[in-house]
Symmetry: C2
Subunit: 129 residues, 2 copies
DNA sequence: TATACTGTGTATAAAGATATATACAGTATA
DNA sequence: TATACTGTATATATCTTTATACACAGTATA
């Protein structure tokens, strides 16, 4: 099972947190289905170029949120997620990210039109595929 | 001298880093002019509800970038910033923030139209004043 | 059905980064 | 020269990340 996680080396955000946010997002958005056996902590750590313990912390945190179930000797599985929780997540994750982007713009004295232009530019570049 | 810095308690981004990013932004965007005497580390720490040491680290880091000059017993001043460096900063700061917002959207399987709607909504809310 | 092997998660200890309180030293100015 | 303001240095606690060694579960096979 290959899990697409993007690590940003330059970010000040802790590694375990970057992984958590993205894995949570994958589960809550339904891209990784209920019952899926996730990669072992060793395999995942190797993929992400980080320590086994860091992956373990992520699995542990998400398990305590009820998003994962782990069984020693067997592996870590994706638990069932309510569809309402799923919908709520999708929207709030994006809204929050967008808000912080607009905040940065305002802080640097961008006009509404400046931001519209930059948004369109970025959007077209990312969705050109 | 009052410096508008927004601290996000819930963010995993280290405190000193949040302050650095925003103060750097204020200097490079020209909102805090060359020669300005910044608040003392104690006053600033009190405003931000953080430790003196955290503010000192921010001043120290920005001084080593050449953005500040500090003189013991007197205070910390904003240094001169080249206008080209100023222009470059404004744009890249916003573009990077916008890119990461769009990334979050893509990760949660938003369509281009979904993102446009959310962006417009957030933009209108923030610029309603 | 023993037994060994390979896979899984677990526990402990240590190093680095981050944040704090407290005591120290330089500078302005009444 | 007092005094009240500046920045500075030291020691401490917590968080983040890692390395290493260990214990448990599944599977092949003698």
């Amino acid at each position: 099972m290959w899990i697409p996680i993007q690590i940003n080396e330059n970010s000040a955000e802790p590694l375990y947190h970057q992984i958590e946010v993205q894995l949570r997002s994958l589960i809550l958005s339904g891209q990784v289905e209920e019952g899926t056996l996730l990669p072992s902590i060793r395999e995942f750590a190797n993929d992400l170029k980080c320590s086994v313990i860091t992956v373990r912390r992520v699995y542990q945190d998400l398990e305590s949120e009820g998003l994962l179930r782990t069984k020693q000797g067997t592996g870590t599985f994706v638990a069932k997620v309510g569809s309402d929780e799923r919908d709520r997540h999708r929207r709030t994750a994006v809204v929050e990210a967008m808000e912080s982007a607009v905040d940065v713009g305002m802080q640097v004295q961008c006009t509404k039109e400046d931001l519209k232009a930059i948004f369109k530019e970025v959007l077209d570049a990312k969705y050109k595929g």
